[in-house]
């Protein structure tokens, strides 16, 4: 993504409703190019709603969302994805009836990027699983595939929703390194409950509660598990 024309992600005054229930209240958030921005908060704080709204799956009632100067509000979610903004959902629902290869092929088909080297470099384990049905993968392997699928097309902005939820510590460590490396070429917005992991990689951290941003910590020095803990 080009650096000109503004921040990798700029959310201003976002208000989102599920029918009659309001889920986000005047949420503003900013990620400059190449940053890792974390978003923490309890279940129901609105973190997933925020990511899904940015990705175009939910329509905000008011507020603006822009990436590199492009207004995202009103774009269909496939249009957002085509701009190089990829959402990695927390459900780890790979296309289970398709093979690992077919899962990746679909992403290549969507983005025109058939170079799978970054995927197999980050996740060499997937190489041996190419012809397996994705439904037979373990939780960690599914997450690898989800991230692998998302990074094809070299997206400029990755929206990652609770990537380590329910995964073994070894895989969490592995993912931490992957995210750190990915941040060299993409901006990351990560929603997480795992504070040590997220504090180790985040440049900026937002804490959410009841649909609002309640605190913001900028700079590596201030993003520490001790200070963030009370928001979980």
């Amino acid at each position: 993504m080009s650096e000109a024309g503004g921040d990798a992600l700029s959310v201003i005054g976002l208000n989102v409703w599920y029918d009659e229930a309001k889920a986000l209240f005047d949420v503003s958030l900013r990620a400059t190019s190449g940053q890792v921005v974390a978003c923490v908060g309890r279940n129901g704080a609105g973190k997933t709603t925020l990511l899904r709204t940015v990705a175009g799956f939910l329509k905000p009632r008011s507020g603006s969302i822009a990436s590199a100067g492009v207004d995202l509000v009103g774009l269909p979610s496939y249009g957002v994805a085509q701009l190089g903004i990829k959402y990695v959902p927390q459900d780890k629902m790979v296309f289970s009836d398709l093979t690992v290869r077919e899962n990746l092929e679909l992403s290549s088909y969507a983005t025109g990027d058939y170079d799978w080297e970054p995927v197999t470099t980050y996740f060499p384990k997937l190489k041996a699983l190419m012809d397996h049905k994705a439904g037979h993968l373990s939780g960690g392997e599914r997450q690898m595939l989800m991230i692998g699928r998302a990074i094809l097309g070299r997206p400029g902005l990755l929206l990652v929703d609770e990537p380590t939820e329910g995964l073994a510590p070894g895989i969490v460590m592995h993912l931490k390194h992957v995210f750190r490396d990915l941040s060299k070429r993409a901006t990351l917005v990560i929603v997480e409950q795992n504070l040590p992991m997220v504090c180790a990689i985040a440049d900026t951290l937002y804490a959410m509660s009841d649909g609002r941003i309640v605190a913001e910590f900028a700079g590596r020095g201030s993003v520490r598990p001790e200070v963030c803990e009370r928001y979980l």
Binding site: F57, Y78, Q82, P89, M93, F95, L98, E102, L106, A110
Partner: protein
Amino acid sequence: MIDAHLLTSGIIFGLSLGSIFFLMTVGLSLCFGLMRIISLDQLLYYSLGAYVTYSISHATSYVWLGVLAGAVVGGLAAFAVERLLYRRIYERDITFSMITSFGMLIAGIGAIKYIWGLTPRPVSVPITAEVDILGTLVPIYRLVIIGAAFVVYAGIWLFLNRTMVGKAIRAGIENVEHVEGLGINVYRLFAVTFIIAGTLSALAGGLYAPLIMVDPQMGLDVLAFAFMVVIIGGLGSIKGTFVSAFLVGQVVSLGSLAYAPLAQMAPFAIMLVVLLVKPTGLYGSPLLKR
């Protein structure tokens, strides 16, 4: 004991009926699987296919040309309906699509009555020859219908497993939002699926036309069977629809040989048993509410 000749022709009859059921309902099943709509208007394309077959075959005396034209008209009608109507209601509740499409079916039957009149119309059988199978004479045309169903099944299988658009449709049947998240325009997939569905429904009507009288109610007449086939097979499963179409076809055919009223009743009994044992149908998976 049923007479052997009767049994052979009964099985062939059941297979050809099952073939028509399959072609008629595969679109219904696909549309439900991918778009989560209940597209009862498929039965309108079925009737339309039969009527176009009637008109073209009478004008040119080529029945096959009529069948082909019917399938094309069915596909075009489906394209128009998808563009004008479904595109506006995909986001709505599933019952909304059911009511809308039933309304379309009724309105379409009205249009058919207006254009072609109320009198049932005959279509001549393009192949009148018969072939000897185990000492029983079987009309070749029925075998052609069975062959067509198998060719279509194989074609759909190849399309879904060997092409990118097909793979995207399979992925979308599992989780359409994730397909969209990859950057694929799912509305284009919806349009492709709906056109395929309409074309095959119309093909079913066209192929069946020579064996029945083409009349305005023909779509409504098969409505219950169409429902049963997709529900027994499992909504959204092509394989399930294929198996269950032949199951229902045989039950109707052989049931009527054993005891005539069974033709109408037996499919319901089968559906009851299948749903008691497996509520999602033979090959259905628990479906996510969207």
